[in-house]
Symmetry: C2
Subunit: 192 residues, 2 copies
């Protein structure tokens, strides 16, 4: 059903997620995808081209998933809470954030771009949701949407770090609960 090409890209995505760029070998990609060596080099020029396709696809998917939560109906805080509490494998971490630890990725503009753009988009999207909430009068006083949006994205990314260090997904959720509690304290105490 799926083409060899697709299986190569999907396998690369999995391996990049778990082992990063430097930790992912062509041989491992071939084994996971079930494609032979000649086949792999027929479809892609090499590891770099494969990684590029894999990263672009992963970035697209992350964005789509985030947009689903963030564009749902509800208050700003409810949507951000839903986004942060969405079910996930916290121990596996973020497939995009992970790539920022790979010097070879950061050094290559093409490989780096989807990473950069994903976080840029996410930060702006969260800031827009916060601004919308403020316009609607959800929050008390003023609120720097850009800084808080950054803090929210960072809390999630750092939550993965804490979870992986401890080997315990609860550490992710604890961090997320912390930032949600801080954010909720800024909402007007009208309803519960």
């Amino acid at each position: 059903m799926t083409s060899t090409r697709d299986r190569l890209v999907d396998s690369t995505r999995e391996l990049l997620w778990d082992r990063g760029y430097v930790g992912t070998s062509p041989k491992a990609i071939q084994e996971l995808s079930g494609a032979g060596q000649g086949s792999m080099y027929h479809h892609f020029a090499g590891k770099r081209e494969l990684a590029l396709a894999a990263i672009e696809r992963t970035a697209e998917e992350l964005r789509d998933n985030a947009e689903r939560e963030l564009s749902a109906p509800g208050t700003a805080v409810a949507r951000i809470t839903a986004y942060l509490r969405r079910e996930r494998d916290a121990l596996r971490g973020c497939p995009i954030g992970r790539l920022t630890q790979d010097p070879d990725i950061l050094a290559d503009p093409a490989l780096r771009r989807p990473v950069d753009e994903t976080f840029d988009w996410l930060r702006e999207r969260l800031a827009a949701v916060l601004t919308e909430g403020r316009t609607r009068g959800e929050f008390d006083g003023d609120l720097d949407a850009n800084d808080i949006a950054s803090a929210i994205v960072a809390t999630a990314q750092g939550g993965y770090v804490l979870a992986r260090a401890a080997g315990d997904p609860a550490q992710f959720h604890r961090a997320v609960d912390g930032v949600i509690a801080l954010l909720k304290a800024r909402t007007k105490t009208v309803a519960q």
Copy 2:
């Protein structure tokens, strides 16, 4: 002045910080330290033993630096702010947090322990500072010190991710400013 052994450990610390465990080769360690191959294997059994010494040393240093800010005089928020705003090379990231992206480190209990313990300590230390602040009456209402401490550590760790993705240290500071703003909003509005 410094022993060959120390130069080997220091070089390994630098390389682990920048390239991670899988990205650090014995050859690179030898070149950076100026030690020969025989010399390296005389002092250490191999890459793993070198990494162990390097990670333990880095963890110790991180802890000492954090303790310096967190045990200073001042309010809880002032100390946490000083900790988060301490001068740093945000683009380089956290030398301990970085290791959580290395499957080989997480899979090895000895290599992983200092990483786990560092974050455990840091989270508890921040929670203690927050609890102390609450006892002193710095904060309005209640406040879940553990969750907020987690969120603070996570914001810093995630701030590095954002900074590295963008190639811009300002992204780290933006996230940090966001969480500080949220935290400050919880202080009693007595003084500024």
